[in-house]
Amino acid sequence: MKKIFALLLCLLMAVAVLGCSPKAADEVPATDVAATEAETAEAPAEEPAAPAVYEGDNWSSAYYTEDMKGTTLNLYGVTDNVRPILDAFEADTGIRVEHLTMKNGEILQRLANESESGVAIADLWFTGGADTFIDAAQNGLLIPYKSPSGDVLDDKMKDPEGYWHGTSLTLVNWVVNKELIEERGLTMPTTWDDLLQEGLKGEVSMSNPASSGTAYNVVSAILETKGQEEGWKYLDQLIGQVPYFTARGSDPANNVVAGEAIVGINASNGDRELEINNPHIALVYPADGTGWWPQPVAIVKGTQHEDAAKVFIDWVLSKRGMKVVADERYAAVARTDIESPEGIVDISTLNMFVTDFQANAKNREGILEEWAKHVENK
């Protein structure tokens, strides 16, 4: 009897706990309203009564105030190499940025989940493929901010509405195992057609465009430059050279370093270290053109530190920030008015494929379906 009573009481308590929530539920819209109010309150302040612009060493921001020191921002990104950049930002501003490294898709998935549940973990998103940023912007996961520092950027390097700005550039290149090329008496590949040489059969490593942004970018860029018909003809031959398509964009480079393949189609953010640390590896930029995309930075919707996040955008797009990015990532950057460190490929000497990122994002499903058919017919 007592047991039943206890069970009942238990249930009652559970219901009581649940019962509390509708009352509390009313509070949520309230906070939402507060948030939007805060936003609208900020908006006018942005233009007319602009506060004194903080001028740092080679960077400036209208949002920076001394009391931001000690603030902590959270950042999602695709590489641990952002750490030194974030440390430089902290040295300049006193704002600490914690980062978490994930894959592109994971970030997108997380942002969607977090926005659905109304928790904002990340304030910023820095590095990744432009296609995921476009996707996120379309799904309302980002806050637009046209940073004055970004004015000098080429239109291709930024979103017209300010949802994201490009920072460094990712270039598609080939990671080549020089040792094996010599050993097998092959010619060092310089053009896309060189990948089709007989000796490279089964020795070209490429990731699966369905699960890797790198490969998708390559496929769409080839289709764009060569046209649909010629493009697919070429891709059919390329498919014949690849033993299997790896799951992740980073796999081909690993395969080549380990000697499992001779040429790997890779997305590079500079990768100087790869060459320095592995004497048997060469990075080759295809002479007849290559795919590329900017590595954007954006503010995540729902952030509690919007102003501090804007300071970060201002900083990273400034001369000072871009210099740090170029130095720390050994990467070509979106700004053209800074000195690149030695050893970085000069993008002005490269033949870059024309890339329409918006169209890329839109045609994705169709191209992938076609791709699957061609792989099956191999």
């Binding site: 007592k2 750490r83 898709g105 799951a247």
Partner: protein, 574 residues
């Protein structure tokens, strides 16, 4: 023996006594919490996959999943059989025979506790790959290690030792008197083995098998790193989320993955239930075979030596990888990987230790407590409590993680998903506590099992005595049961600590920038071509685990300072 004794307890003491209202109440609360942490997320992920929006393409997803499920089974079934076979062999050789160097082998066999994550597969590539040290430089072969066999061999090596840990504990506690009896009756050794010894070990062997099967099904790292074209359901699940941004597809694959895992889990329970097994008493018997045949012994030792040779090769090569300039190419000595490691943040290591200590304490306590409750309270719910408590062991980590994600992304601990769409902002997702909670529930089965096995040996009269003398149930628990359960707690703590240090699947989608753990960093580094650094980091993690576990061991066996320290740690972490 054990079984009948257990039945007596049920009838005798507590139910006759006035069961205090408070303890009954706590009991139901406890049950609810356990169900909440273990069962709900699993149900949620299945519902999310199947019932989500746009469910008309469910069939296509299922078809895709079925292909990978086939791969998973194609791998897991042979791996389970082979690894279990080796594990039994190892257990017998190392505990029932005596030979020189046995101590070394026994220590080596504990190595999976300190297994440096992920890099094992890399050392396999370096040794047996197209340009591998052994295949290419020594044997002049050019074979690709990527694919089915690579994954198969890697899993055999790591899972055999996992199975060994489980099965050998059964071998060590064997009641060899039954064998002795058979021997006296003139049975042949072979007959004794098949009709007495192995049946006696059935629970451990089946348990080990289940463990290996589940681990193989859940392993996503090995296929990702050396699977090449061969991917399993678990690794595809990871790819679906990270590559194709498809959470719903992943949930459906996950639901598929759950089917064989749960079936294996239920099957094992069913088989064990059909027959009563001899209870174990605490007496130790002489385990050695009295007149071992030299030929058998030598064969067994040879097989063990080959196995441990591979193990040493694997670990030795990881050490080489961490200390040489360019793993796979330039084997000149360098410390540059460690220098680089030192330049990175140490925070992930600190976080790993915090998490593992916190989870170890919380989870071991919860598990042992659960065992105690199940053992004493023979209500119908208790049986379910046991099943629900062990359920997470059958759920692949990555899927359990998604379960937490889809459950706790809604406010009010996920309840509002089913009742109100907007609730107070008590959302677990995005808090640092969620990774503690998920690990605690995921590993509570370890504490539960070790608690159950200790309780089976306890004399129920002690507690009854306390009760007769007028101690309340709660008091009896704290003053009698808990101290008696201490060994179970300690064993569970060590196991859970080690597992949490190297766990990734369950927490990979729940980590925050500020509480990222070391193993996640290693996983990232390995995918970015910096394998030397990855090896160095893995090795450091293993070393850290080794040192800490040694420290814990000393603490546990070094009297009372321990509890105070634990409490302090506990406050600090939780």
């Amino acid at each position: 023996m054990g079984k009948t004794r257990r039945k007596q307890i049920i009838k005798l003491p507590f139910i006759v006594n006035k069961s205090t209202f408070v303890s009954t109440f706590l009991y139901y609360i406890f049950t609810l919490i356990v169900i909440y942490g273990t069962l709900l997320p699993v149900i949620a992920v299945v519902l999310y996959g199947i019932g989500g929006k746009g469910s008309d393409d469910t069939a296509a997803y299922l078809l895709r999943g079925a292909h990978y499920l086939y791969n998973s089974l194609l791998l897991a079934v042979p791996v389970t059989l082979t690894a279990t076979f080796f594990a039994v062999l190892l257990s017998f050789t190392l505990w029932r025979f005596k030979f020189k160097g046995i101590g070394f082998f026994r220590v080596m066999a504990l190595s999976p506790l300190l297994n440096p994550p992920f890099v094992g597969s890399l050392s396999f590539i370096m040794l047996f790959g197209k340009r591998g040290l052994i295949t290419h430089d020594l044997l002049h072969l050019s074979v690709s290690p990527f694919g089915y066999w690579g994954v198969f061999i890697m899993q055999i090596i790591s899972l055999t030792t996992l199975g060994y840990l489980f099965i050998s504990s059964g071998v060590q506690n064997m009641q060899t008197i039954y064998e002795e009896a058979a021997r006296t009756c003139g049975m042949s050794e072979r007959k004794i083995l098949t009709t007495v010894t192995l049946p006696l070990l059935k629970p451990e062997i089946l348990g080990g098998m289940l463990l290996i099967f589940l681990a193989s099904m859940a392993d996503f790292g090995t296929p990702l790193i050396i699977g090449g074209p061969f991917q399993t359901l678990s690794s595809d699940l990871y790819i679906q989320i990270t590559g194709t941004y498809d959470m719903r597809g992943a949930s459906i694959s996950g639901a598929l993955l759950l089917v064989p895992c749960l079936m294996a889990f239920i099957l094992q329970k069913k088989i064990l239930k059909k027959r009563a097994y001899w209870g174990r008493d605490l007496q130790k018997y002489d385990l050695l075979y009295p007149h071992p045949s030299k030929r058998v012994q030598h064969t067994l030792i040879a097989i063990c030596a080959i196995f441990f040779g591979m193990l040493i090769l694997k670990y030795g090569f990881i050490i080489i990888g961490a200390f040489t300039n360019n793993w796979g190419h330039d084997y000149s000595f360098t410390l540059r990987h460690f220098v680089k490691l030192n330049e990175r943040e140490w925070l992930p290591f600190v976080n790993s230790v915090k998490l593992s200590v916190g989870v170890g304490l919380g989870s071991a306590l919860l598990g042992v407590l659960c065992a105690d409750i199940i053992y004493k309270r023979k209500a119908a719910v208790s049986k379910w409590l046991e099943i629900v408590g062990t359920l997470p062991a059958a759920v692949p980590g990555i899927l359990f993680g998604i379960g937490y994600l889809v459950t706790f992304k809604y406010p009010l601990f996920g309840i509002s998903k089913f009742y109100w769409l907007s609730g107070p902002r008590i959302i677990l997702l995005g808090t640092s506590i969620i990774i503690y909670i998920i690990c605690i529930f995921r590993y509570m089965n370890v504490g539960l099992r070790s608690g159950m096995s200790v309780l089976a040996h306890l004399d129920p009269n002690i507690e009854q005595a306390a009760h007769t003398l007028g101690a309340s149930k709660v008091r009896t628990f704290f003053t009698i049961s808990l101290p008696l359960l201490k060994p179970a707690f300690q064993i569970a703590y060590m196991k859970i600590f080690a597992s949490t240090m190297t766990t990734l699947g369950a927490i990979i989608f729940l980590l925050l920038p500020k509480n990222k753990v070391a193993v996640q960093q290693i996983f990232q580094i390995i995918t970015s071509s910096e394998i030397g650094l990855g090896a160095a980091m893995s090795l450091s993690l293993s070393a850290l685990m080794g040192v800490l576990m040694l420290a814990f061991y000393l603490l546990m066996h070094g009297k009372g300072i321990l509890m105070a320290l634990w409490r302090k740690n506990n406050e600090y972490n939780l």
